[in-house]
């Protein structure tokens, strides 16, 4: 057989091939009700040498990928992607792989605890009855509007439960927040979609179907929205429909690992993304001929070239590439949106798509499919909304704060003063699985199960053409004396009585889940169907969720999109200093990976640094300042200062420095922190969020990339752990040049 295999076939076949043949089980070891069985009929998961596989959902980020967890003798031993889940098709990212290191992390919160003073080490272990009473009292003894819930970014069942509770009792609506959402500027994307398409939504970019992809700062191969799905798209791009390898151009001031895969990497001046996008639009429109769209009309390409630092010829060449392609796609994202003009950037880039006429077409822009039990897009809170919450806390309007699935003391910038405001909150109750910074400042920690020990579901916000509701079930029995937060809340609500009890009339979490998915049972076009709820529930767990079999993506309306004027102003930068500051999310650690030792030991895809934080600096700049690799520098912004060692990085603008977000924990377990010579716990690395000021863009997202900073030398050296060789990769230390 001499048939030539194309790369696309290879992908298809490999995808099918990778599908696990394991028999999936619907009823996990943490089944709700104890059933007495004769000893001869042992549960299947206790057979010696035999593995049992359970489908569940990955909780490492909010994307909601399906997992298959291999268990043996009641222990979870490997996570794989769920090949049936349309979102990730059997694939996982590194964080999904390392989720077991969270489950079996030596630093979990093992029991419900009461802290004698916030931030202190002295704690007392409580029993769960007393703990639930604490929650019930907190609900009962405070006015509903004085109770607030702060939750993680994932749109999951606990969020629905708390929403129901809030709706019924008049409590503050729960807020979902995560650093990833902040760095992705989800509010900006959603606002831009609302402005241009008339509908708030998370746009979905069909990278796999495109011919040419222009990404304005979107780090879609790292942590952006749904990295596994977008990586699959990228692989598709490299071998698109016409057998031509798709082209990929990245516009960013610092080469991300996404940018490293680009055919052309365009280091533009931060803040000029909108200008560049519009200039490319204008040049492309000129190439195509016809009437000049209003959106592009007011831009002068020469001016854009000067301001952005891109050569005019380059802009013309890119415009030509964009105009002449049958499937050109432009993606806005990342640091480009986290600037004062972020909304304009998003609009300008989306306008390029309208120009490319790809809206709702393969290789173009869609509105993400809403999950099966979802009626409208519900985005996580923006930083400005968080600021409003903080203000309420300062004003004493919040008496009880429940925190679940988020670590605001680490993920929210210091300048928003969550820590300061929390002093005005009389009771903080954390449901943290790990002893993170917020749990340390909480009065009570009532630990939730780890994601692999718990029931639930999670709506998939974006990344799949089909509407997906990923289902979760316990794959192992809880390892510690933890309890599902949903169970705690249901029991506490019943203890609190009144509206609370009425709002949650459930025996337990599973009954709540059933009530939420029961309506799907009879819907047509579903991946599973059953006649009764227990069977449906069993299928739901066995298959790892429920999804529609058809494309559920929305088609954005392109009306008038090009006839609006889009502001082409450059971004404003806060602070005095000679350097633009570009923070980015560590592709391997993201916001909550720092406590997993193997994620710490993964080499960063661009720098190969492990276990620490670094500052990226252009070699020329470093040379001018007399700075070498591993020299610790002090970075001063208007909001703060921090020190980190320099990584002389060849692919960053000379006027820009960059830092990864993900380290700098002061709590969160032994792997997320470091120990000094005297045995004191010190942060591992630093948190660049400490430098962020209080500046927002129009959509309410934090303008985290709109900063200028100063650099001061400290004279200290701190060697970074690199996987790469300085000698072999950079020729440093090999002797004079060859």
């Amino acid at each position: 057989m001499s048939k030539q295999f194309s790369r696309r076939d290879f992908l298809k076949l490999a995808g099918v091939g990778a599908a696990t043949t394991a028999i999936l089980t619907g009823c996990g070891p943490a089944s709700r009700y104890v059933k007495r069985e004769p000893y001869m009929q042992m549960p299947e998961y206790t057979y010696n040498g035999q593995s049992t596989y359970y489908a569940t959902t990955c909780r490492e980020c909010a994307a909601g990928c399906g997992l298959i967890v291999r268990t043996s003798q009641g222990r979870a031993i490997k996570t794989e992607g769920n090949a049936n889940n349309p979102l990730n098709l059997g694939k996982t990212c590194a964080r999904g792989q390392a989720t077991l290191q969270g489950l079996y992390n030596p630093d979990r919160v093992t029991d419900p605890i009461k802290r004698s003073s916030r931030g202190g080490d002295s704690t007392a272990v409580m029993d769960w009855d007393a703990s639930i009473q604490v929650v019930a009292d907190a609900l009962k003894n405070n006015k509903p509007e004085e109770i607030a819930f702060l939750m993680g970014m994932a749109p999951d069942h606990i969020f629905d439960l708390v929403t129901d509770l809030a709706n019924a009792t008049g409590m503050n609506a729960p807020m979902r927040f995560g650093a990833l959402g902040m760095f992705e500027a989800r509010a900006t994307l959603s606002k831009a979609a609302e402005n241009l398409f008339g509908q708030a939504s998370l746009p979905f970019f069909d990278v796999g179907g495109a011919q040419v992809v222009f990404s304005f700062g979107a780090n879609f191969l790292e942590t952006w929205l749904s990295p596994v799905s977008y990586t699959r798209g990228f692989a598709g791009l490299r071998e698109a429909r016409t057998k031509l390898r798709g082209k990929f151009v990245q516009f960013e001031s610092r080469m991300s690992s996404t940018g490293g895969k680009a055919d052309e990497w365009i280091p533009l001046r931060p803040g000029t993304e909108a200008l560049v996008a519009l200039a490319i639009g204008r040049l492309a429109a000129e190439i195509r001929g016809g009437a000049m769209p209003r959106a592009f009309a007011s831009v002068d390409p020469k001016d854009a070239a000067t301001k952005s630092g891109i050569k005019l010829e380059t802009l013309e060449h890119l415009a030509e590439m964009f105009a002449n392609s049958t499937g050109a796609l432009a993606i806005p994202g990342g640091a480009a949106l986290g600037q004062s003009n972020g909304l304009a950037v998003a609009e300008a880039v989306l306008a390029l798509n309208a120009f490319s006429d790809n809206l709702g077409k393969p290789g173009g822009v869609y509105l993400s499919a809403l999950a099966p039990n979802q009626t409208e897009y519900n985005r996580p809170a923006s930083a400005r909304e968080m600021q409003a919450l903080v203000q309420k806390m300062f004003d004493g309007k919040i008496k009880v704060l429940f925190v679940h699935g988020v670590n605001p003391l680490f993920e929210l910038p210091n300048s928003l003063e969550f820590g300061g405001a929390s002093k005005y909150v009389s009771q903080i109750i954390s449901f943290a699985t790990f002893p993170d910074e917020t749990a340390r400042e909480a009065d009570y920690v009532f630990p939730d199960h780890h994601g692999l020990e718990s029931w639930g579901y999670q709506r998939v916000a974006t990344g799949s053409a089909q509407p997906v509701l990923s289902g979760a079930q316990p794959v192992v029995s809880p390892y510690y004396n933890t309890r599902a937060t949903a169970d705690v809340l249901i029991t506490a609500a019943q203890l609190a009585g009144g509206k609370f009890a009425e709002a949650l009339p459930f025996k337990d979490e599973v009954e709540f889940l059933q009530s939420k998915i029961a309506s799907l049972m009879s819907e047509a076009d579903g991946s599973i169907s059953a006649l009764d709820i227990p069977t449906f529930m069993a299928y739901f767990q066995q298959h790892g969720g429920y999804w529609k079999m058809s494309d559920g993506r929305g088609v954005p309306s392109a009306e008038d999109m090009l006839n609006r004027t889009i502001a082409a102003d450059e971004a404003e930068f806060a602070g005095e200093g000679e350097f633009f500051f570009v923070p980015f999310v560590s592709p391997t650690l993201a916001e909550a990976g720092a406590n997993k030792p193997w994620l710490q030991e993964l080499a960063d895809p661009t720098t190969t640094v492990m276990w620490n934080t670094w500052v990226e600096m252009n070699p020329e700049t470093a040379h001018e300042l007399g700075i070498e690799n591993d020299d610790v520098v002090k970075i001063v912004s208007e909001a703060g200062a921090l020190e980190a060692p320099v990584y002389v990085y060849p692919a960053i603008r000379p006027d820009t420095i960059a830092m990864p977000f993900g380290q700098g924990h002061t709590a969160y377990g032994r792997y997320a922190t470091d120990v000094d010579k005297d045995g004191n716990i010190i942060p591992r690395g630093v948190n660049p969020a400490d430098l962020f000021g209080q500046h927002f863009n129009e959509a309410g997202d934090l303008a985290f990339a709109g900063m200028k900073v100063k650099i001061e030398k400290t004279g200290v050296k701190k060697p970074l752990s690199r996987l790469e060789s300085l000698m072999g990769v950079y020729g440093i230390g090999l002797g004079e040049e060859h």
Partner: protein, 246 residues
């Protein structure tokens, strides 16, 4: 012109004829360097982490690492295509003859380079002689505090101090699939199972399978003209084919 196979030296002949059994194709053009394979490998194979100081001193235990270099200077700088580097399971491996204890041996059945952990005495000659530098040594008795050992894969030996280790092409998965196929009275089907790295790879950049089966996906891909094998000139007969970028 005389070829290697014409020589009368039996071992050279054997090596030249050898085609291998299991192989891999890695597409560097779509590898995004996301490290999912590295994490998957570590989880599957009980690979230990070593901490900040040791990992910065070349002691990390990665069985697969992703290499990247730079081309050009700013602003015309390019990152070279990510290159996942793992044991190439050479048909004519340089690590094998040098081990005094027979801890690095060639599996005649699977055509893989085995590392027999309990036979290893730690001379580190194999690692020294590996042109791909893919072997990891247990420099210390790296401890995984309780309850982290709960996640150990029972199919894979946990290595202790003083032992060399390396990628096995997930031989435990090979054996499992073969046992299953045997019990069902059939051959292992291409794509029935795959290695941990290939299974995790979100871009599907890694394909694993039988290279001695001309119909298999990995064989078909391996025949592509742009496939290269690393350091082939050393006569190591590697079983991993790389597609370079573009």
């Amino acid at each position: 012109m005389a070829t290697l196979a014409d020589l009368k030296i039996s071992e050279v002949k054997l090596a030249a004829e050898q085609t291998g059994k299991w192989g891999m194709v890695i597409d560097q053009d779509i590898c995004t360097g996301c490290q999912a394979c590295v994490a998957a490998c570590a989880m599957e194979n009980n690979v230990t982490f070593v901490g900040e100081v040791d990992s910065g001193y070349g002691r990390s235990m990665h069985w697969i690492r992703i290499e990247r270099f730079w081309e050009g200077e700013y602003p015309e700088v390019k990152m070279t295509p990510n290159q996942p580097m793992l044991c190439q399971q050479c048909g004519h491996a340089t690590c094998e003859p040098v081990c005094p204890a027979f801890a690095t041996v060639h599996s005649q059945a699977e055509q893989l380079n085995l590392q027999v952990y309990n036979r290893c005495v730690g001379t580190r000659y194999c690692a020294n002689n590996c042109p791909y530098q893919v072997r990891s040594f247990n420099w210390r008795d790296y401890q995984r505090p309780e309850p982290l050992p709960n996640q150990f894969n029972p199919d894979v030996t946990v290595r202790r101090v003083g032992v060399m280790e390396k990628c096995t092409f997930c031989i435990q998965r090979i054996h499992k699939a073969q046992d299953k196929a045997k019990s069902e009275g059939r051959e292992v089907v291409d794509g029935e199972f795959t290695t941990a790295c290939a299974q995790a790879c979100p871009a599907n950049a890694i394909v694993f399978g039988r290279v001695d089966d001309p119909e298999s996906l990995v064989s078909q891909l391996g025949k592509q003209s742009h496939g290269v094998k690393h350091l082939e000139e050393l006569g190591t007969l590697p079983n991993v084919t790389y597609f370079k970028g573009g």
